[in-house]
């Protein structure tokens, strides 16, 4: 048997109080697409960081071999030299620079001391062809969509002499079309001899593309499966990932007759000063008590803008139209007003605008409703601990303590902290923007279960989601948005992925 291109043997990595990797063994064959799956906190990112030299040699125990040679990386630069390239979920491109400048960033082609733009551009054109991206290399990155930016990032990696390309959740922010393109590109790269390691939560995509699948759980390798020989399907993977089988990805909910109308938008429009155009046009929607209403649509269709404009308009759009909460017209000046009217908004991007990452779990949970734990103008820190512990238990937030900084938690647990923070506001209307983005199957199931129990207690949920199965599995009623308009409304019983998609792409 030929030497594996990459072999990681008995890797153990400890952080203060946590063993993130426990004797992990991971072996990748030349030229394959190897998928790495596991719940959040299973150790996938840590493993990649060990491999790439982010955690330098000596801070972990175990050995890394590339093509049979022992590697002792002390920095990302050294691992790059050895032919490892990583594409992170958060893109590392400079928005104000052009496509070609980004591709050669750090490895500029020079003629003497001066950058040779012509040579760079002509090489960039060739590389862009390789990744199937048809854009002018002089275009600034900020003018490209996320899908295309991702391709530029891959082009940047390919320009270096890459043996192993690691993609961390590359399709998390992409719509279905861009995701398909990306997967096709990965297949193409495989044919050119590039070995790919793909980390993904989207099991369907994993099953579609993988030659080999390694499952991590709690910092240990659970199993490595050959996709062409072993029996591999979603239930099998889920069982390995969570250590139990999940019968149904979407927990069942007793459907109840929706109660009174709690939220209504009439002719709601928004104009963005930054973009200089209308981003929401004449939106009429309503949400009833005990209902989960989904807003489907492609990225850029205005779903998040709709949520933010209603929730106190923090981005400062020029608004027109009316909002009714429990039948009463409201004019919110800021998110604080919306919170007082018993709304809550769990943001799409928990890191960017959902949580204070450098602060601890308890402070994050109490932040939006400090008044409840204030006596005589002073925060009662003991009550705060009780509150935080209550949500920690109720939502099963896995953290060593509520004093733990939120940035040290896994994505799923961060999402639960975010949810806990907004439940502490005791809202009637909960807006969930991509409630399960970038979190694993087990945590997803838990979040769905929480959503179900909330609506059963009479809360109303407005859920924005890019995942069609999630919309079909969880909601009662669906609005489909496209280009800032509501293109259609349907009951979940009448909805299929196809008819939602049809409305979403219909401009």
């Amino acid at each position: 048997m030929q030497t594996p291109i990459l072999e990681m043997k008995s890797i153990t990595k400890e952080f203060p109080g946590v063993r993130a990797l426990d004797n992990v063994t991971f072996s990748v064959r030349q030229g394959e697409i190897h998928c790495l799956v596991g719940e959040n906190g299973a150790g996938k990112s840590t493993l990649v960081k060990v491999l790439s030299g982010v955690h330098p040699y000596g801070t972990y125990s175990g050995e890394i071999f590339i093509e049979g040679e022992l590697q002792t990386f002390n920095s990302i630069r050294e691992s790059e030299k050895a032919g490892i390239a990583i594409i992170y979920q958060e893109l590392a491109l400079i928005p104000e620079l052009s496509v070609y400048e980004n591709i050669f960033l750090g490895n500029e082609i020079t003629d003497g001391m001066v950058i040779d733009s012509n040579e760079s551009i002509s090489q960039a054109v060739d590389i862009l062809k390789k990744v199937g991206l048809d854009v002018n290399p002089l275009t600034k990155i900020k003018n490209l969509g996320v899908g295309k930016q991702q391709l530029v990032e891959i082009a940047k990696a390919l320009k270096k002499d890459v043996k192993i390309l690691i993609l961390d959740e590359p399709t998390a922010a992409l719509n279905e079309n861009d995701s398909d393109n990306l997967l096709n590109l990965i297949r193409g790269l495989k044919e050119q001899g590039v070995t790919c390691i793909l980390i993904s939560h989207k099991l369907r995509e994993v099953l579609e593309i993988a030659d080999t699948i390694t499952v991590l759980r709690d910092g240990r390798t659970v199993v490595t499966l050959d996709a062409h020989k072993d029996v591999v399907n979603e239930p099998v993977l889920i069982k390995h990932m969570v250590g139990r089988s999940i019968d149904n990805v979407y927990p069942k909910r007793e459907k109840i007759q929706p109660g009174k109308e709690v939220l209504r938008l009439e002719n709601w429009s928004a104009f963005s000063y930054n973009l200089g155009r209308d981003i929401l046009k004449n939106i009429n929607i309503n949400v009833h008590e005990g209902e989960i209403v989904a807003i489907a649509g492609l990225m850029g269709s205005g779903r998040t803008e709709l949520a933010k404009s209603v929730f106190g308009n923090a981005d400062g759009y020029r608004l027109s139209g009316k909002v009714f909460i429990n039948g009463v017209e409201e004019k919110f000046r800021d998110p604080g007003d919306a919170i007082k009217a018993s709304m809550a908004y769990v943001t799409e991007d928990r890191k960017a605008n959902g949580l204070i990452l450098i602060d601890d779990v308890k402070h994050n949970i109490s932040l939006a409703n400090l008044n409840e734990i204030v006596t005589g103008g002073v925060i009662n820190e003991n009550e705060e601990i009780l509150v935080a512990n209550r949500y920690r238990e109720q939502l099963d937030i896995r953290t060593p303590s509520i004093q733990q900084k939120v940035r040290n938690l896994s994505g799923g647990n961060q999402q639960k902290v975010s949810l806990g923070k907004w439940l502490f506001v005791h809202p009637d209307i909960l807006i969930l923007d991509e409630p399960t983005r970038g979190i694993d199957v087990g945590a997803k199931y838990e979040i769905y279960t929480i959503m179900n129990s909330l609506v059963q207690q009479g809360m109303s949920i407005l859920m924005i989601s890019s995942e069609l199965p999630e919309i079909l599995g969880m909601s009662d009623r669906i609005y489909v948005m496209s280009a800032g308009k509501i293109n259609g409304e349907m009951l979940v019983e009448d909805a299929t992925q196809e008819n939602i998609m049809q409305l979403a792409v219909d401009y």
Partner: protein, 403 residues
Amino acid sequence: MEDSKQSNNIRNQFKNLVDIVKVNISDYFMFFALVIIMIIFTITTDGVFISSRNISNLINQMGYIAVLAVGMTLIIVIRHIELSVGYLAGFLGAFAAIAMTFWGWPVYAVIPVVMILGMLAGMLTATPVARLGVPAFVSTMAAGLIYRGALLLVTMGTGTIVIRDPVFNAIGNGFIPDLPLEGLLPGRHKLTLLIGLIAIILSIVTSIKNRKTKLSYNFSVPRTSLFILQLVLVSGLIGYVSWILSGYNGISWSLVILLLVVIVFQFITTKTPLGRHIYAVGGNPEAAELSGISVSKITYIVFAAMGLLSSLSGIMYASRLRSATTTAGLGFETDAIAAAFVGGVSAAGGVGTIIGSIIGALVMMSLTSGMNLMGIDISIQYIVRGAVLVLAVVFDRITRKDK
């Protein structure tokens, strides 16, 4: 067998202690550094440094920078900077001098008016920052130039303005009165000792009360032995400082002002929703805004507080010199920013404490005082202070990494 178990147990306890120190090292490091600096200067100056007279002087010299450092901490916590505070302090000091000397205003009117002016000035500087997102660097630098010009303008005719009001001059030079007990403890300032004693009792009582409340919530508390050790250390510290101060003239009015400022700001930042909101805005402004916290309101409040503290600084400085000068306030902002950074504030926002910055100010002022006593040339003093500033920040970076 039993023996080895016991030694294991002790070893584990020691390991725990080491772990606790490791985790919190960046929080306490500056305090240790301060103690070490003080010990070194005490040795090199044959004890002059730690003498009652010198410590008392040091505190009075530090006062007008330390109050600025308190405000600067909050400014940096919300990711801004304030470059106008020095000139604002200088200008307001001159305003106070003119109001008393030329306009004949009573001191009890001048002080509140100056404080209100300081607050308004802070809010004015904050307006372009909070409303339009103009970088505070630019907005406050511009304001600084304007105050500098204003100071030169109002002192143009007269140059230095001498202040003759004894009440005003006591702020920077005077001490609290003593108890009229002639026979008791000669050579000691009795009221200072009494205040120290009260402070010790208060700190013990509140500590015990807090511990009881925690227990009533069934929360874990430090072991009794550790708790007592903590009480003894804190009481000892308060007692020692009071004892040293009582050996000279006792507590100065500067120290009274500084303590009040520290107590008020420490309370606001650690105990109230406003404080929590300030740190939330610093930690993640977008998340704070979406949590119902108005970022622009917080910006106004923090800059207004900075303006208020600048006015106090100006008053303390003018009072200390018993006059308003054309160069008053020059470089104060640099000293305040340095104290805040030495005290562990982070330019990335959301991190930094009031107590930390006070310790930072004490470190910087101890260096000045100690090196002055040793007769070290001012050129070397600048170099040493610069080196300490950069070392403190570097150490903070290293110890906070990976946490």
